[in-house]
């Protein structure tokens, strides 16, 4: 299977005033196309930081990060933006829909930014299928304030996958939902993964969410402490060597 995400010796250090905070302390990770992965750990373990790096929202301090064959460590802002636009779809805990726009326009904005403003039949067909799968076809004319939490999150998922990104990253996607809507949303992720072979990475502190995924990566204190990956790296060739510190 094609490797979509790969990190080697990944470190991320934040500076808060005079204090340096090492959020990631050497993360080695490989995620393949079509996987449904949960990254789990307690608050402050670095999982959100890992998501931001994997999503090209920020660059690593040291180490190697390869997203769909492109190494991002030396990239500038424009290149990172392009990676985000072309390869990544984000789903956030707080939905992060644009409040003044309808659900339809929230999705269209993503397509416009991607350059899919001129609609092709293929894209429209895909989007229609997604909206049907997410059961939000008849909610498109509503603004976020007129939608329930679950509906908002499903619109956010539709926005994230509208451009068929290589990777869908979801940061605590059920954190603002009740249990019923949480289950609906998690089932949606699984459907996307099964039906469209969408690579999905869920970041969470909730162990129940892990049951919906095929693979669980556990983090603690900025490092990976567990990974129930059924495929051995050795069968895929040599382990990537970490790059020198940036």
């Amino acid at each position: 299977m094609k490797t979509l995400l790969e990190t080697a010796g990944l470190r991320k250090v934040y500076t808060a005033g005079k204090i340096q905070i090492e959020a990631l302390r050497g993360v080695d990770l490989r995620i393949r196309e079509g996987e449904l992965v949960a990254i789990m750990g307690p608050s402050g373990c670095g999982k959100s930081t890992l998501m931001h790096v994997l999503g090209a929202m920020t660059k690593p301090t040291a180490g190697k990060v390869v997203i769909d064959g492109q190494e991002i460590s030396g990239m500038g802002d424009n290149e990172l933006t392009r990676i985000r636009r072309d390869k990544i779809g984000f789903v956030f805990q707080k939905f992060n829909l644009l409040p003044t726009l309808t659900a339809r326009v929230n999705i269209d904005i993503a397509r416009y930014i991607h350059g899919n403003g001129v609609r092709s039949n293929g894209h429209d067909q895909h989007l229609r299928e997604i909206l049907r799968l997410l059961m939000i076809e008849n909610k498109m004319g509503r603004k976020p304030s007129e939608l329930s939490g679950g509906e908002q999150q499903r619109v956010a998922i539709a926005r994230a996958v509208a451009n068929q990104p290589a990777i869908l990253l979801a940061d605590e996607p059920t954190g603002s939902l009740d249990s019923k809507n949480s289950e609906v949303v998690l089932n949606m992720f699984r459907e996307l993964n099964r039906k469209f072979r969408q690579t999905v990475i869920l970041v969470t502190h909730n162990p129940e969410l892990a049951a919906f995924t095929d693979r669980l990566i556990e983090m603690r204190d900025g490092v990976i402490v567990g990974d129930n990956d059924s495929v051995s790296w050795d069968t895929e060739g040599e382990l990537a060597q970490p790059a020198p510190s940036v």
Binding site: T58, D77, T81, T100, L101, I109
Partner: protein, 362 residues
């Protein structure tokens, strides 16, 4: 997205629109007023019907600012020149008690010969030293009619007639009275000269200049053009100051509006960046929103300017506000310019925001 953004904050959008409109109104009405007064005065002077205006040396084109005079006997020498049909002397006074009003002291018979006479609405010509003839616009503005008393240059005058406007001044008294009031007996501020053949204006001017060296001699058809504001350096400076102040108002309000907008929408900007929007996209979005406000504000400003001009001219009939296509274009450009300058810093600040921090902004 732009319209939605503007509609989401209606008060701020309205204030920004009104500020840009105010900027445009300030420019168009003030410039229109100065241009209008100059232009209207010039056209009224042209309306006397003469071909040439003769003034003493060192006179100002602005009759209200000129107090030089010349002997009336000079016209005898001018009459000897070929092609001269009629010459009428005028002694000008300025009444400054309520604004700035020019009064013509005239010889009725020679003034008629040059101007083809007044068109009378009411009354008659003066036959007493304290009689005054007013034009219809003055009569309407001051609410006076035949028989009423008006105070001009600290003298009381009785209105003896009301005439159609457009013959130079709005107020006419006898030349003798004007000379006595100014202590210029036997003198005049200017001559209006009518030719038998108007096409000979340039030739006649050359002959008059040879005869009277140093005197101001201009074809009257040029007078209105010379009176226009762009021929007067002091007025240019005034207009430039007004335009600069208006521009500053526009820049500051747009800056404040856009700055608070991007602060409030930090999270939205973070969302767009997480979707892959480039810095250029963010800057363009902010500029487009500003452009929408400035364009709409400019349109409102233009419409308001015409409305305000109408109201002012209805309340003060002696005033003219001239709003020209040239200045409308300039006002719109200034409005857009103020939008660009005011938006520059906020848009660049918005684009530089870190997407992770922006998404975490509460």
């Amino acid at each position: 997205m732009i319209i939605a953004g503007l509609k989401a904050r209606p008060v701020r959008t309205t204030v920004s629109l009104l500020a840009v409109a105010l900027e445009v109104v300030l420019i168009l009405v003030v410039v229109g007023l100065t241009s209008g007064i100059s232009d209207e005065t010039g056209r009224r002077t042209e309306g006397v019907g003469a071909d040439i205006l003769l003034q003493p040396p060192n006179s100002s084109l602005f009759l209200a600012l000129s107090n030089t005079t010349m002997p009336i006997v000079l016209r005898e020498r001018l009459r000897e020149l070929p092609g001269i049909k009629a010459i009428t002397p005028v002694q000008t006074l300025v009444n400054s008690s309520a604004g700035l009003e020019i009064i013509y002291g005239i010889e009725p018979d020679t003034f008629d010969a040059v101007s083809n006479g007044f068109i009378w609405h009411k009354g008659r010509l003066f036959n007493a030293p304290d009689d005054v003839v007013v034009d219809d616009i003055y009569a309407k503005a001051k609410g006076v009619t035949v028989g009423d008393t008006v105070e001009l240059v600290n003298h009381k005058f009785k209105v003896c007639g009301v005439v159609e406007h457009g013959k130079g001044a709005r107020l006419f008294i006898s030349l003798k009275t004007a000379q006595e009031m100014t202590g210029q007996t036997g003198k005049a501020s200017l001559f209006f000269i009518k030719l038998t053949d108007p096409d000979r204006v340039e030739t006649a001017i050359a002959e008059i200049k040879r005869l009277l060296e140093g005197y101001g001699v201009i074809p009257l058809r040029e007078y209105a053009r010379l009176m226009m504001s762009n021929s007067m350096p002091a007025l240019d400076a005034f207009i430039s100051s007004v335009v600069f102040i208006a521009l500053c108002i526009g820049v500051l309000v747009i800056f404040l509006s856009m700055y608070t907008t991007i602060t409030e929408r930090t999270r939205e900007i973070g969302i767009l960046r997480s979707l892959g929007a480039s810095k250029t996209f963010i800057v363009t979005l902010i500029f487009e929103e500003s452009a929408a406000v400035c364009s709409a504000g400019a349109l409102i400003g233009i419409g308001s300017s015409f409305l305000i001009a109408r109201i002012i001219m209805a309340v003060f009939p002696t005033l003219t506000i001239l709003i020209t296509p040239d200045w409308i274009t300039r006002a719109v450009i200034f409005a857009v310019l103020s939008g660009i300058i005011g938006t520059l810093y906020p848009s660049l600040k918005a684009a530089k925001q870190d997407p992770v921090e922006a998404l975490a902004y509460e």
